[in-house]
């Protein structure tokens, strides 16, 4: 499956691959894996292949998918955001506090939810770009801080009873499609356009590819990074909104280890762990692979402990395959 070398004539696979990457920004392998996984699950479980189950998969994928979009932007710029899951939890609690404890109207509570995430991201970005602390450390610190803050604000308890219109965002089903799925797809399309077709997106990839080249070309690398971490936090806030409104409560323990799944989805989707390459469409395939995998394991009644192990294993395997291919491609 490795691409042929430049000297030999490319086969059908390589030509399709090149077109797919050039036009859709998707690596074909990820589609093959998704279809293979769907086929496997359909064979293993009689409940898998149905419209309602596909809706379940999409619904479960929506929260992780939004986080995976954040992970794609940050990773492809050569950064890392380990605080995604904790910021999701913090945002949900902040939103629930605004709506329930402070009795704020829905639009204010929604903005507060997303704003709390963006603020956490801004802090990450500020310490990384102005304090010269590695992103790994800063966002690992934020993983602890945001989770702790969520527990402090909520006093360690789940905040129940969101207003009706907020619950609609998580549980409404216009035309039979869950609202989180609609929001997720709209956000994914917008962010795909941003990453693949705007100067902001192209600069994001260039910074991850060769920071010095970007700087030489006049791109304000530090400011760009600051905006990326803020965006990442804001998307985690949106994921927190989807999660909280779906379960109709602000849960301070929501989203634990979600960064693991989100980063895995981004990497399976073809994002380069070290920056320079990434696409939201690719990540969507990656998120669906994770969604199908988790759904299938649920249907097969596999305990969630094993599911954690499966996700961790998939992450390491995906990076291994990517590294292996890169070594093959650079071989002369």
């Amino acid at each position: 499956m490795t691409p042929t070398h430049a000297s030999s004539t490319p086969g059908l696979w390589s030509r399709l691959q090149e077109k797919s990457i050039e036009q859709l920004h998707i690596r074909l392998e990820s589609i093959v894996v998704l279809l293979g996984l769907i086929t496997l699950m359909a064979i293993l479980s009689p409940y898998f292949f149905s419209v309602s189950n596909f809706m379940n998969i999409l619904l479960a994928t929506s929260t992780i998918g939004v986080l995976a979009i954040a992970a794609t932007f940050v990773l492809s710029s050569g950064g890392l955001d380990l605080s995604l899951g904790s910021v999701l939890g913090l945002s949900g609690v902040v939103g629930a506090t605004f709506a329930v404890n402070l009795g704020m109207p829905t639009p204010v509570a929604v903005l507060a939810t997303i704003g709390a995430g963006a603020l956490a991201g801004l802090v990450n970005g500020f310490v990384i770009t102005r304090g010269f602390v590695p992103a790994f450390i800063v966002t690992l610190g934020m993983l602890g801080i945001a989770r702790g803050l969520a527990l402090v604000i909520s006093d360690g308890r789940v905040i129940y009873g969101l207003p009706e219109w907020m619950v609609f965002l998580g549980q409404g089903r216009p035309f039979g499609v869950p609202m989180p799925v609609i929001i997720f797809i709209v956000v994914a399309i917008i962010m795909h356009i941003v990453l693949a077709y705007t100067r902001y997106g192209r600069h994001t990839l260039s910074i991850g590819d060769n920071e010095n080249a970007a700087r030489t070309a006049g791109i304000n690398v530090e400011f760009h990074r600051l905006t990326l971490y803020t965006l990442s936090g804001g998307l985690a806030g949106l994921a927190g909104l989807l999660f909280a409104t779906r379960i109709n409560s602000g849960d301070p323990t929501a989203g634990i280890t979600y960064e693991l799944t989100a980063i895995t989805a981004a990497i399976i989707g073809g994002t380069n762990l070290f920056g320079g390459r990434g696409s939201i469409l690719g990540t969507m395939i990656g998120a669906l692979i994770m969604g199908v995998l988790q759904n299938g394991l649920n249907l097969l009644a596999v305990q969630s402990y094993y599911q954690q192990m499966a996700i961790g294993g998939v992450l390491v395997l995906a990076v291994f395959i990517d590294q292996y291919q890169q070594r093959q491609e650079t071989k002369v």
């Binding site: 705007t198 260039s206 060769n210 080249a213 380069n272 491609e329």
Partner: protein
């Protein structure tokens, strides 16, 4: 009249004095080789020209106008372009993305500024053709290209700034032998389009084959200024190492 004129350039880093008053002139369309031993100050001098370093003393004029007070960006806008040793290429991006990095053309679609890929590819192709460079595909990541092909991408990018003078610091140092020739052809191509080139290189044969004039930096000054057609390898080498130390000169030549 010179295009670029340096007079009495001095530069020290702390207690280390690197340049003690260097004079250098480059005419329009002229290719000048700048040579000298490691640490002679060639890269430092060129960074002073592009504005990355400030000279302690001396003047720099482009078309008789001083550029000393200009930022690197403003000097670039006036036509001083430098191609760095590491080429400053984003290796996973394609040719067009690299050539237009930081100034991608955009189209307005429903109020959103979308990068105009079609125009980028087309204009990138024009630049590549203008250089006569051969690339496998302009839509492939430049990291998959050979060193010489990457060099042509960097030069094509420089061309899009409409430079009057292009400075190249060791462009052939990391190249396979057959690729060196194509880079030398690119330099001739620039010259034929009226663009001046300053070439820094340790490969004296290349310098002899492509330059009009050769300036030797030694002990912080321009120790020799030789017309390429009137000089020889041994004259250059003895200017690099200083005086008539023939044994040392031979050793240098052997090192390449």
């Amino acid at each position: 009249m010179s295009l670029l004129s340096l007079t009495g350039i001095k530069k020290s880093f702390g207690a280390v004095s690197v340049l003690h008053g260097v004079d250098l002139n480059v005419d329009a369309g002229e290719v000048v080789g700048l040579i000298g031993d490691n640490g002679a100050g060639k890269s430092t001098l060129m960074k002073i020209v592009t504005g990355i370093y400030q000279a302690d003393e001396g003047s720099i004029t482009l078309n008789d106008e001083s550029v000393l007070d200009l930022t690197p960006g403003a000097r670039r806008a006036r036509g001083i372009e430098m191609i760095y040793q590491d080429l400053a290429l984003a290796k996973q991006q394609d040719v067009a993305s690299n050539i237009f990095l930081g100034r991608e053309p955009v189209r307005n679609i429903l109020g959103v500024k979308i990068v105009d890929r079609g125009r980028m590819k087309q204009e990138a192709q024009v630049m590549i053709d203008r250089l006569g460079a051969k690339l496998p595909s302009i839509t492939r990541p430049v990291g998959s290209f050979s060193g010489g092909q990457q060099q042509s991408v960097a030069i094509a990018r420089a061309l899009t700034f409409d430079p009057k003078i292009v400075i190249m610091d060791e462009p052939t140092a990391a190249l396979a032998v057959r690729e060196v020739q194509s880079v030398l052809d690119l330099i001739r191509q620039l010259k034929s389009q009226g663009i001046s080139v300053i070439l820094i290189s340790h490969r004296l044969n290349d310098v002899l084959s492509v330059t009009d004039r050769i300036v030797v930096l030694r002990q912080g000054t321009a120790a020799a200024n030789l017309k390429t057609s009137d000089t020889s390898m041994s004259e250059i080498v003895s200017a690099i190492v200083g005086g008539g130390d023939v044994a040392e000169a031979a050793a240098h030549e052997a090192r390449g």
